[in-house]
Point group: C4
């Protein structure tokens, strides 16, 4: 299939609650960038994280193989450093191949989970 997507993406919302009612990985509070690489070349993606009161952190580097999806949890990032909890952030993604990014938060601070999701902002 032809590749679909764009090479620059941004998610302006970012916030990982430190509280979770569940320790189950599926239900712990988390933010995810779902990244699709539908093309036939591996996508090298760099991620920079912006904060309210200090300089940006990055680049974080991930590879999304050809014809694969990567549901990347911000909670799992640790190189060059982890994303702090209970802290406002934003993110920018740059890829060498066209990709599609959708943002999701699962919030389990209270007993019942809450979800939100949006297609991220993209530029050619």
């Amino acid at each position: 299939m032809d590749a679909i997507g764009r090479k620059r993406w941004s998610i302006a919302e970012g916030y990982i609650p430190s509280e979770s009612i569940s320790a189950d990985r599926a239900l712990v509070s988390h933010e995810t960038a779902c990244i699709l690489n539908a093309g036939d070349k591996d996508a090298n993606v760099t991620l920079t994280v912006y904060f309210a009161n200090r300089e940006p952190v990055g680049p974080f580097r991930v590879v999304v193989p050809a014809r694969r999806t990567l549901h990347l949890r911000f909670n799992d990032l640790d190189d060059p450093q982890p994303i702090p909890k209970d802290t406002d952030y934003s993110s920018v993604f740059e890829s060498d191949q066209p990709i599609v990014i959708q943002h999701t938060r699962l919030d389990s601070r209270r007993a019942e989970i809450s979800l939100m999701s949006t297609t991220a902002y993209s530029e050619a």
Copy 2:
């Protein structure tokens, strides 16, 4: 009315929880691609599903008749094979007519349902 929409769409998020507090079809955990064909010709739509660790599956084929909407549940897909539960996926839609796609998940793993929705990513 003139047709509205585009011919290539992608939903980067995909995850069908296996758990549901309710067996009622309206309240069982599900993901949906709401597809509108506002034009005067039937739309032949092919859907390919991408995974984290194996080759894509498809094409799935659906027809959205002229001047109709189809709220397609990923849970209901079974040809060439069903979408596994509790598994990260992404999807790409290709149509021979302009269509509009919006993505929704109803999650009923816990007693109270949670909803999320977004207009999908589109290309001409």
Copy 3:
């Protein structure tokens, strides 16, 4: 201020649950099209609703005055006919002035409300 927005919009998702835990207008299950007309001319908007199994219904007509917002509940539409509950639908909006549309559902089928929202699909 200069007008902002586009003249053709579509919301592919549509579903008004018949159940609500509350009779309070703010908390009864509803779907809303939030329509902003930031320009200096009143916007005449026509709305057509599409279904899975029958011909579209419309046009519904609303006016969004200059420099005003209208949070239009699909539940309140009744001319030429009301939108049936528990039924899949989609909608297309056409305006003679640039407008911005965001879609929201508040779902109170269960004791705790659930929300979803997305910027609608637009064309010039």
Copy 4:
């Protein structure tokens, strides 16, 4: 990094519930515009708020420093006047630098929070 984003944005949905189950700032019902300025110049942003039945209010003015994010709560705006609770509104943002805006509501009218989020509507 090169700047990313656009200079005109709109969020058509706006509604701050007056009720909250919690007085904790993180969990009180609120609406937020998450604004990312990934560029190397401070962004001067003006915000105008539109209502259903009266003239717009503004401009509100905020600065998003270079390489910073601002998660702006509508609840916190007070100059030239606060945003009334339980009232439908919409907003338009104009910036002198490219920015990215994502809209979020955390609703805690009921015991369990509900979230919604969407990338806002943008124009060059």
